[in-house]
Subunit: 387 residues, 2 copies
């Protein structure tokens, strides 16, 4: 069965685009999102039949993903990660239920694999041969790996002080790696120059419409694993924030499909006190996030001073009655050990930040005994940052 | 449905033991293995019904695993890892088909998670509170993680020069870690002293009967993913060699169940030229492997000078018409990059050794165009060894 993709739509001005062909940003500068004919999909697709598919990871949801021909799918077995129920964490935080979505179990050790799988698949269907992206680390590894699987050339620019393991991993799967002095925003400028000069396909955050679609499957899986119900809150460590936007859209799509009823979860952002542009904008009631100067945190994935998805992230938080909180590096470190000892999950610093954030929110009364809370561990703790 | 476990049997003298209760080695010193009533299981269980279970990872095979009550299962989502078909590797080696079983995708980044899941589950069902094991690295992380999930205390002894990430990871999940100067055999002596003094449960390689059972599921999954057929050869990087013994038993059990027909695959061992006790014993026609002096290799998991399962590994190789080959560190390093660039899989040095070994065997004519070959990547390449 074909996908129910209907069109691309600008997230800022609402302009429509043909879903075939190569598209990046809208003329107005807005990011493009993929729309589906959910009316027909809801009448045609059975959630339990989709759920009963024994294989396929995130591609079990292929009709709700941007792929024309299932034979084009580039997969390393992404998605289908565990949702680990931790009564011990729930008791320690005083919450109704705490579930950890362990997305570090993906290929290349992070949730970025979902976006790379859908993004590279879309690139392959459009005849692309060379893609390029800036990265704080994990996305570069994921795109290089899926590029290798598909036989594409992948150009990656990464801050020179990103974790050594990320740089090693990009090279291990044959990616073309450039280390740039500075932050991810400096790496982005290097990539833009390369795109202008060589015509590479721009795979930067929200600069093509397909990456976010893979990340959306995180939301599908969470609802499915709860028996096609929504949790009360999802706590997400936002660097670029695309995973959060993706889940927010997934929850809305599940309601429109008629697969899940009731209120979608409150979307909660956790950032580091060393780089918290979204938290600051949320607290100030602003619609866009001002650039964060002097960004610095042990959670490298959160070191994104100007998140490209700021408008959408802030909308997702506000429309769902969510909130945003910043935690410091000491709390992240302590939460990492607490999460590991309570569950056996090796969490990344970014993933551990969600536990620190949930603890802060429980203390200030924003989460409580009535809440079933999902913490998203976006990366494997095996990707070690040496001291 | 309950498990079809029937008894424990000594792999050396054939003595039988009650499968309940705590058992370690036989009085004769032989390792105990778990036997099943495969006659009844074959009449009762349907392979396709088991295969259609959408969830559960390796525990989809729970009736063929040592667990009395499914509620006791300690799981972090192990098993169900991808079998990646690589036409590019097949072409480059001149083989019929090359499939990579990417077992680095398990919790804690290695196939050791399978053994820890079954081993910790069995320990929990026997009322054990404290377990202890020596490790080259990965097994310690796995047991510490599953111990944390189950609320057990886990004592781990590891060579002081094991990868830093392994030591960090054991601590991250609350394991009690001791670094020992020397090799895994020295760590084993430290653990034996602790067991004698404190009465810890001995979870060392083949010193309890249940760890190997989890690893066995590797074989079940490979046959299932090939449409309930055997490959022609399985290439395995042998440190302790338990995974190979487990798969060998799994293939025999699948035949006895009537689930798979035809000849079981040739079992092929790859070791490092810096520590190749099994290869040497195989070439000399010996039944046991003499200790390898001065063990040294970048593939830490292969640095096992006296593999406890030597007799069984050598039997598995000979009974299946397999072979054994040693590769050097330079070939392992080159194979790691070749595997990554051809498939997008981040392989451990141990996993990459299977590609180097397959290349050597293709060159000497032991593998050829008619062969469908499975390479077992036992660990994630994300577990970096800093140089």
């Amino acid at each position: 069965m074909a996908s129910f993709v209907s069109r691309l739509v600008c997230s800022r001005c609402g302009a429509s685009f043909d879903p075939r062909g190569v598209h990046h940003l809208c003329d107005c500068g807005g990011a493009l999102l993929v729309d589906y004919d959910l009316d027909t999909a809801g009448r045609t697709l059975d959630r339990d039949a989709v759920g009963a598919r024994a294989r396929g990871g995130m591609w079990r949801f292929r009709e709700l993903l941007p792929v024309e021909d299932p034979a084009s799918i580039v997969s390393l077995g992404e998605g289908g990660t565990p949702l680990v129920d931790s009564p011990r964490l729930a008791a320690s935080l005083g919450l109704g239920k705490v579930l950890v979505k362990d997305d570090g179990r993906n290929p290349t050790g992070s949730f970025k694999a979902r976006g790379a799988a859908s993004g590279v698949t879309a690139a392959v269907e459009r005849g692309v041969r060379e893609v390029a992206l800036p990265t704080a680390g994990n996305a570069g590894v994921a795109w290089a790996a899926y590029g290798a699987a598909a036989g594409l050339r992948v150009h990656v620019a990464m801050p020179a002080d990103a974790p050594r393991a990320n740089a090693d991993s990009v090279r291990l799967v044959g990616g073309d790696l450039t280390l740039v002095d500075g932050l991810i925003s400096d790496a982005a400028r290097w990539i833009e120059a390369g795109i202008a000069e060589h015509g590479w396909y721009d795979a930067g955050t929200l600069r093509e419409p397909y990456r976010i679609e893979g990340k959306k499957t995180l939301g599908f899986e969470i609802a499915e694993d709860l028996g096609w119900r929504f949790p009360d809150a999802v706590v997400y460590p936002a660097g670029g924030g695309v995973g959060l936007i993706g889940m927010w859209r997934a929850f809305a799509q599940l309601r429109e499909l008629g697969w899940v009823g009731g209120e979608p979860p409150r979307m909660i952002v956790v950032q580091s006190t060393g780089c918290a542009p979204i938290v600051r904008a949320f607290e100030r009631g602003e619609e866009v996030a001002e650039r964060w100067e002097g960004a610095r945190t042990i959670a490298q994935g959160l070191r994104v001073p100007s998140p490209p998805g700021d408008r959408l992230v802030l909308r997702a938080i506000r429309e769902t009655g969510g909130t945003a909180v910043a935690v410091d590096d000491a709390d992240i470190g302590a939460a990492r050990t607490a999460l590991g000892a309570a569950t056996g999950i090796l969490a990344s610093p970014e993933g551990a930040a969600t536990l620190a954030g949930a603890r802060a929110l429980a203390e200030r009364g924003d989460l409580g005994r009535g809440d079933r809370v999902v913490l998203v561990n976006t990366g494997s703790g095996l990707v070690q940052t040496p001291d």
